[in-house]
Symmetry: C2
Subunit: 327 residues, 2 copies
């Protein structure tokens, strides 16, 4: 019998990875959205949110809705989806909340359609959700959400996504409870930059990619520097310099703004350091009397995964056979 219903778990992601503005992204285990999709034999999309964030449920105003509509435009016949979503990733956090929902919806739908579409098709559809959420068809959250792991988006005009293998990394997400709109964070950026700064930046991008591929923590650490975006955007995030400095003192390899913020992230080579970074950050925001939510996670090589009913189980897919095993 053909599968009519599916439950998926769609993970948070960190875009940019400090120096890789708009081209690098990384999937985490925590937090995540849970999405249930049911295949319908009518051309409708019905969306319900059970998470209390007050997100719009009309398909044309919902990131899952527009992503699924983009998919349905490429399928002949009378098909639709009933979608129930419980978001675990707060909207506006900077850890790919909209991307998780859009990626989870199209990945789940694709499984119900017998894996009709390729992963790069799914990214294309999910990017429509990003366009709705932020005004830009960027893939640095949806690509890692769908592929898992660390992904390079070499090009979005002609979509070219490359998986970047990496050594074990522990990621501390630090989310001060303030709002920074993606559109505002993009608007603050100067559209022109100094060539000499760009050279420093692509030296670091090259160093980071080489460090990840060659398991060189020292090189990764030296390369986690952003001379272009962070100086402009970090002023929107109270406590940013203090938290980053404390994280580095605690032994983190490096870190910065997650996506367009306000969440920060720090990467460490071991769990103890990642936990210590969290403690230091909590102390700083406590002293500032600002609420904060933190997560510690390794890099999630799976991306969106299927859940059995409502259970939260992470299947033991290896990265290499993920394309078949996933959804």
């Amino acid at each position: 019998m053909k599968q009519k219903k599916i439950n998926v778990k769609a993970p948070a992601t960190v875009a940019n990875l400090v120096c890789g503005f708009d081209i690098l992204g990384m999937a985490l285990y925590n937090p995540f959205d849970q999405i249930q999709l049911t295949l319908l034999d009518q051309p409708v999309i019905r969306i319900t949110h059970t998470d209390g964030f007050g997100l719009p449920e009309e398909p044309e105003n919902n990131v899952m809705g527009v992503a699924l509509m983009a998919m349905l435009r490429e399928i002949p016949g009378s098909i639709g989806f009933e979608v129930v979503c419980r978001k675990g990733i707060k909207p506006g956090s900077g850890i790919g909340s909209s991307a998780a929902s859009a990626a989870g919806a199209v990945a789940g739908a694709n499984k119900l359609l017998g894996n009709r579409f390729s992963l790069s098709d799914l990214i294309r559809f999910a990017m429509e959700g990003e366009k709705l959420a932020s005004g830009a068809r960027h893939a640095d959250n949806v690509a890692p959400a769908i592929y898992g792991g660390i992904t390079l988006i070499r090009s979005t005009s002609e979509l070219d996504i490359i998986r970047i293998p990496a050594p074990e990394l522990f990621v501390t997400i630090i989310h001060p409870q303030i709002e920074v709109k993606t559109s505002d964070a993009r608007q603050i950026l100067k559209t022109r930059i100094e060539l000499k700064d760009a050279v420093i930046q692509w030296g670091n991008v090259a160093g980071l990619v080489a460090g990840l591929l060659s398991n060189d923590y020292g090189l990764i650490s030296r390369s986690l520097k952003d001379v272009i975006v962070e100086p402009q955007r970090s002023i929107l995030i109270p406590g940013f310099p203090e938290v980053k400095a404390a994280g580095l003192r605690a032994g983190a390899l490096g870190g910065g703004i997650s996506g367009s913020g306000p969440a920060l992230f720090m990467m460490s080579s071991n769990a103890d350091t990642a936990n210590k970074v969290e403690q230091e950050a909590r102390l700083i925001y406590k002293a500032m009397n600002l609420e904060v939510e933190c997560y510690v996670s390794t890099v999630n090589p799976h991306g969106v995964t299927e859940e059995s009913d409502d259970a939260i189980a992470i299947p033991d897919y290896s990265l290499s056979n993920k394309k078949d095993a996933l959804l």
Copy 2:
């Protein structure tokens, strides 16, 4: 008995590698400079060129001279060098002529001094030669000339050189016989660029490094694009678009301006293609009635090597033990 005299071979290099402006460089086998150094017990540097290029021989006006002077400033005692150089790399070609001489001189001198200095010291000294030649202390030719292979210069302010392992690559150098001064080629560049172009560029830089490290010719080829420097500089090189297009049609992975030109280079995955690229380029420049010199070479993993007397022998060093084996 302590070695008093040495003959070295210092290879041509290609800086930038299309998208990696100022951060990537690659050593070739051909052409090369030959340098003989003799250790003196007086604090003098005597330079003779036997190559007929009319280069200045006063140490303070010679790239080998200033590089050796920088080295001698860090050595106590009464030491000097007699230097005889036969350049095989034409000055002003864009394939690291000044870098080869400076790198060869300091690498040879270091051997005579019992490998007193590290490779990164040698790069630091040789960069003084680059400063004399072009006004900028850039390392994208001297680093591959000294390290061999393909090198990433992540940072020059705090020198950080990383070897980038690569699959077998065949390089066609095409040198139309016109002069483009490095200082002019640098001056033509706009000092400010669009952020959106920088994002495209560092996506390609990341793709190229990932492609080299994972032996992915397809990814290397897709990443060999330069949206920033090539559009500005290529107008200085007659025949550039025709030669590049013909090279790609012949099956090359990609290519562009070597350093600041006027030489072009194309990279191929096999010797037949690299030779075909040369033939196509010769036809184009013949039709333009412009003289051209061409070289086909694989990537040279050794950098500067010692020659036995005047023989041209390439020792069979492996990349991994090069640091000890070299000089």
